[in-house]
Symmetry: C2
Subunit: 280 residues, 2 copies
């Protein structure tokens, strides 16, 4: 069973939203998918930071942080390992149409899900990554935001069914590498840890941000830059990451390239684990 185990909508236990909610009508909102360990959220500051920036960019009110904190505690305090999903939308509108209403009353949905049952082998031994045909359109005004318009990712994820291939790389409409369908991508080339810039599209994942911020403490130099398929093919190592999986090494890019998993990747993986385990 993967249904949400417990849900608060605007602070009250519920499972229903109005069909007039602009989240349902237009995907007018954003979400955060958050790992909960022993009732704690080790990457909370990163999620909250992205949420605030995204609200600002979507012209959406930032939720009252005290209420949000209380609701998170209510939902998460007994969770040993689970997923907290926060959805914020522009709420019910009294008018039809795209125009943002003056009297915006946002909708806030917090729900707890079981931990996903990804095979541990993906984490330990790495994965095969495929290349998606579905591309990401350029929209600088939406890039980076984990918003509710996810048809591109849905169509990309519908391209394959092989359970042994857990992720696909998505290119933009100009052929640049952007991300996985649900993860960000990093490659090692000549001692630099590189990840695609997200100026035009893609989600700026929390784990991506964490790695970019913490890499220097591991003696790793990072670069954010345009990356193409040739760069992926020439990479010395590759991994994908998100806030639930942590980091999965990439062993194969389809049948095109294969990669080792060295201590460079393992050091980052271990650092993430240490951060989670030592978080108070």
């Amino acid at each position: 069973m993967f249904f949400s185990e417990k849900t608060l909508i605007n602070g009250r236990p519920s499972s229903k939203v109005s069909f007039s909610d602009r989240g349902f009508q237009y995907g007018d909102g954003l979400f955060e998918t958050i790992a909960v360990y022993k009732g704690k959220i080790p990457f909370y500051d990163f999620h909250l930071n992205r949420l605030k920036i995204s609200c600002h960019r979507l012209k959406l009110s930032i939720p009252d942080l005290k209420s949000l904190d209380e609701e998170i505690k209510e939902l998460c305090s007994e969770v040993s390992q689970g997923v907290l999903k926060i959805i914020l939308t522009r709420g019910i509108s009294e008018q039809r149409g795209y125009r943002i209403p003056h009297n915006e009353k946002p909708t806030r949905v917090l729900s707890i899900y079981p931990w996903p049952n990804y095979p541990i082998d993906f984490f330990k031994y790495g994965i095969t990554l495929r290349i998606c045909a579905t591309t990401l359109g350029h929209n600088p005004m939406l890039s980076g935001i984990k918003h509710l318009n996810r048809l591109e990712q849905i169509l990309a994820r519908s391209e394959w069914n092989d359970p042994q291939i857990p992720e696909g790389v998505m290119l933009d409409s100009r052929g640049q590498v952007i991300s996985g369908t649900m993860s960000n991508i990093f490659i090692f080339i000549s001692d630099y840890l590189q990840t695609p810039d997200l100026n035009n599209c893609g989600v700026a994942g929390v784990m991506r941000e964490f790695i970019l911020q913490k890499a220097s403490t591991l003696g790793i130099k990072t670069i954010v830059k345009p990356i193409n398929l040739d760069d992926l093919k020439q990479a010395e190592e590759m991994f994908v990451c998100n806030s639930l999986i942590g980091l999965w090494p990439v062993r194969y890019l389809e049948e095109i390239s294969s990669y080792p998993v060295s201590t460079k990747t393992r050091n980052i993986q271990n650092f993430i684990q240490m951060w989670i385990e030592s978080y108070e």
Copy 2:
């Protein structure tokens, strides 16, 4: 009041959907906004045709057409002039994540809204069109579909508040003209009625399709092709259209260009009116 007056969700009167609905979680679905006159839907065949094509492209089940017909009759038979909105989503999913579930149970929302109170002057004398800064990203797999991912249009429509300017033109990320935020655009140049091709982005509106199909009966030659801002500036006439407004002549493109409204545009406007009035 602009709230929906009557709503059927999967055939039953309701105003609520599950927060687990993929329409709410990801904007995973589509919609149709349909003009109702004297209990009839003059452009029904065009809406149904687009709905079927869009379902196919989004890998979404086409709803049972008999049930849909019955529900439309139930909602619309007493409506003298109103708006029927149909939303179809991929429904409630037992799993989290973008992957399309095997046991898809789509959600079907039909609701009736009052007719929008656009000033009649827009129809009679024409409008001023502005140019939006928010652009449309390229995604050939989604282009043409009236899907539920509408943040680009929402951000574009949030750029201005002047009630005297009812519409803005949206360019794609490469600077080509695509459409209005809620309408399609046509221009007359050298006796040809031209409208932007929607191979990369944009919604293929029902009124656009109607005009493209019927123009020849008015002796008008049409071309669907890439159009840029220079073409707009050089246009002899311009109009925007959708299934609710019919056709609004464009008198001004910001303060850049002005256009007359000749019998060419009026003939199309009259043809639409006649189609509506003579529809049985």
